[in-house]
């Protein structure tokens, strides 16, 4: 029984496992549905700025002065013109402040704008005019976004009005007037050109998370379940090295994890408009290292448990905190100190951070060499531990 036949055995065992996976139709469908569902959900929970469009907004013009002399009508027209360009809001006019409130309450609109009754007269007598933005407190995430955006829009309109006023009154040139009204021109820019959407931030995280979840459910089935139903005995009673059995399992599960990762990557590029800045090969390489660590961890756990049920339970218990602590949704640097410490011991943390740098920032191998090195270490340690634990578990 040389090394060659050992590898052959491992490949046959992997063949068997993969055949088994590929014949489970429901399982295959879930391989695609799960990431779709996750990404859709994450996109919904955390709407991105640039992704905000057609937010239904109610507008109530309570200005006493209507018609040609009304400055509020002009204001609304200006707002509509601006909105036509960005498509951010879906404006509809309502009659009163009470209507705005009730429309938000019954979910018809997500926010409202109320123009005060003294709008025209205030402006004409040199006072500030009132515009109230009404928020939907039941949806704080959207509310704060809309509020920021609306405030910005209205302030921008105010600046324009003031600039125009200066220009009319004192005949100062338009750009000089603008500098007087708004002396600071603030602009934000990222490292890579173009807008990033939130998906680009979460896509690497989701990739890590979905791969982890599919492995953590696949491994108990591949090992504990086989032991439980007794089929593992068939391999153990054959002249097959324990390493070959473990190797077969690792190959099959790694293939499965990689497939899952590639599916997530494809979905995020094709359906969610993620632009990958770095090299795809590098992404797959990082994914592979991450998968090794996860498979090692999974086998380690399943070796210590006797049934698929317990194994799955322990896996789920571990998966959940790993998901949050490894920076899938929130940057680790924003977490409390002790969580940051825990995060340092999770292989997924490094995989996700490296993936994110490659996907979003387009860095090369050198920039993430530390992450890769650590992932490598995790992989070796966890797989060796898994081998020992598996070896021991088989002799019970």
């Amino acid at each position: 029984m040389g090394a060659r036949s050992g590898i052959r055995h491992a490949l046959w065992i992997a063949w068997k496992d993969l055949l088994d996976i590929s014949r489970n139709r429901m399982g295959l469908v879930m391989l695609i549905l799960m990431p779709l569902f996750m990404m859709g959900m994450v996109g919904y929970i955390f709407p991105s700025n640039s992704g905000m469009s057609n937010v239904p907004v109610a507008i109530a013009n309570l200005d006493a002065v209507q018609g040609n002399a009304s400055l509020s009508t002009k204001f609304v027209a200006q707002l509509e013109a601006l909105n036509n360009k960005t498509g951010m809001m879906d404006l509809s006019t309502v009659g009163s402040a009470a209507d705005v409130k009730s429309n938000i309450q019954n979910g018809q609109q997500s926010a409202g704008i109320i123009i005060g009754s003294n709008f025209t007269s205030n402006l004409k007598t040199g006072k500030q005019a009132d515009v109230t933005i009404v928020n939907d407190q039941s949806n704080p995430q959207t509310a704060s976004l809309i509020q920021t955006q609306l405030t910005q829009v209205i302030q921008q309109m105010g600046t324009q009005t003031a600039t125009y006023g200066l220009n009319q009154t004192y005949k100062t040139p338009l750009n000089y007037s603008l500098a007087q009204v708004a002396p600071y021109n603030v602009q934000a820019t990222g490292i890579v050109p173009g807008q990033t959407n939130y998906f680009e931030f979460v896509a690497p995280g989701i990739m890590g998370m979905v791969v982890m979840m599919s492995l953590m459910t696949g491994l108990p089935h591949a090992i504990s379940f086989e032991r439980e139903v007794g089929t593992l005995d068939g391999m153990l009673a054959a002249p097959v090295h324990r390493m070959s059995i473990l190797g077969g399992k690792v190959i099959a599960q790694t293939t499965r994890g990689m497939m899952q990762g590639i599916i997530v990557l494809t979905l995020s590029i094709v359906l969610f408009g993620v632009v990958v800045q770095g090299s795809i090969a590098l992404i797959l390489g990082i994914l592979l290292l991450g998968v090794f660590s996860l498979v090692g961890l999974g086998i380690l756990i399943t070796s210590f448990t006797s049934t698929e049920e317990t194994a799955t339970m322990i896996m789920m218990t571990l998966t959940f905190p790993m998901m949050f602590l490894s920076g899938v949704f929130f940057p680790i640097s924003q977490m409390p100190q002790f969580m940051q410490v825990i995060a340092q011991f999770l292989p997924l943390t490094y995989a996700i951070s490296a993936l994110r740098q490659v996907v979003v920032l387009g860095v090369g191998v050198q920039a993430i060499s530390r992450d890769i090195f650590i992932l490598f270490g995790f992989g070796i340690v966890l797989l060796s531990a898994a081998l020992l634990a598996f070896e021991r578990a088989m002799k019970r």
Binding site: H9, W12, W15, K16, H241
Partner: protein, 340 residues
């Protein structure tokens, strides 16, 4: 030593403090069908698992096909085939794929393997189903594949752990005939565990009766039955339409009675010793107002042997069906010394 297939010396298996197998020593000759007969939890499966290198003994040693189970595991595994209690097959693979996988694990050359698979499928009449997934098979069909799967490597020694459990009478007979023919044709040594007495009786050359991890008796079926007759014990079956608990305890309290078993609503089986035993039992039934429809002296079956040796029934753990006069250990000990 050349004719010894298995030699076990003082095998012990403990699960924590629980002793599942208690100092088992026995020898199986080449070409023999050797039976382990015992109730649930007797330690049959545990013994088989140790011999197949699936579990390591707590104490003791054994050689299988001439190789030490502790140190030459792989050599042992090359020479054995295992049909375990749980079927060793993957539901989503076809019959052929399952066999292919295991054939490859035994390093059987590809062409030889293909031939062997076809031949084995033919023997059990399953060629038609070769390319169907196992999950769609009936239990009987599954078991046929499961058994031929264990024969792929043409093992010297075949372990059959309750191979007919849960099968209908027809499939049961097929499997038994098949086991017989493997033994006849290829000379394969077979280790069979069962708690079906008839199965052990018809198949096995020698039977070891195990109970609580110990061998209580080890001999050929006919010699085992002689234990009862030789011990001057007769097996009496009475057909009594009106059995009452008092009646049973009356019979039980007779000095000649060893065990009383209520077999069904109208039948009582009594193990009794001595020349007068039949008369005494009849008197007891009559004085207890029992009506005797018929009475006969039956040939002891293995079941009776087991009952006699262990003091409890093999199949049913239904305590209220069995009433034992003497503690089981005394019976066991007495007979064991007689056998040796």
């Amino acid at each position: 030593m050349a004719d010894v297939a298995i030699k076990a010396t003082n095998l012990v298996k403990k699960f924590r403090d629980f002793v599942a197998v208690d100092h088992l020593s026995f020898e199986v000759k080449k070409g023999e069908i050797f039976g382990f007969l015992g109730p649930n939890g007797a330690g049959k499966t545990t013994t088989i698992r140790m011999l197949c290198t699936l579990s390591s003994p707590t104490e003791g040693s054994a050689t299988v096909a001439g190789f030490d189970i502790a140190h030459q595991g792989n050599r042992v595994r090359e020479h054995i085939g295992l049909v375990s209690e749980k079927m060793i097959m993957y539901d989503r693979l076809t019959a052929r794929e399952n066999m292919r996988l295991f054939g490859e694990l035994y390093d059987i050359p590809r062409d030889a393997l293909r031939e062997r698979i076809d031949k084995l499928l033919q023997v059990v009449n399953m060629e038609k189903w070769a390319d169907h997934q196992i999950g769609t098979f009936s239990t009987g069909m599954k078991q046929r594949i499961n058994v031929i799967r264990a024969l792929l490597n043409e093992p010297e020694i075949l372990f059959l752990d309750e191979p007919t459990l849960g099968l209908d009478p027809q499939s049961t007979n097929e499997i038994r005939d098949f086991a017989r023919s493997i033994n006849d044709d290829a000379g394969t040594t077979i280790i069979l565990t069962t708690h079906a007495m008839a199965e052990a009786d018809m198949l096995c050359d020698r039977i070891s009766i195990v109970d609580y991890g110990k061998i209580v008796a080890l001999d050929t079926p006919s010699n085992l039955k002689k234990v009862i007759t030789g011990a001057d014990t007769s097996v009496i079956e009475l057909d009594v339409p009106n059995i009452t608990p008092t009646l049973v305890s009356d019979i039980q309290s007779l000095s000649c009675t060893q065990t009383v078993t209520v077999e069904d609503e109208t039948h009582i089986k009594v193990h009794a010793s001595g020349d007068e035993s039949c008369d005494n039992v009849i008197d007891a039934v009559r004085s207890g107002a029992g009506q005797i429809r018929s009475i006969r002296n039956v040939e002891p079956t293995l079941e009776d042997v087991f009952l006699y040796l262990t003091g409890h029934e093999v199949r049913a753990q239904v305590a209220d069906k069995v009433t034992t006069k003497e503690p089981r250990s005394r019976h066991g000990a007495r007979v064991q010394s007689r056998i040796r």
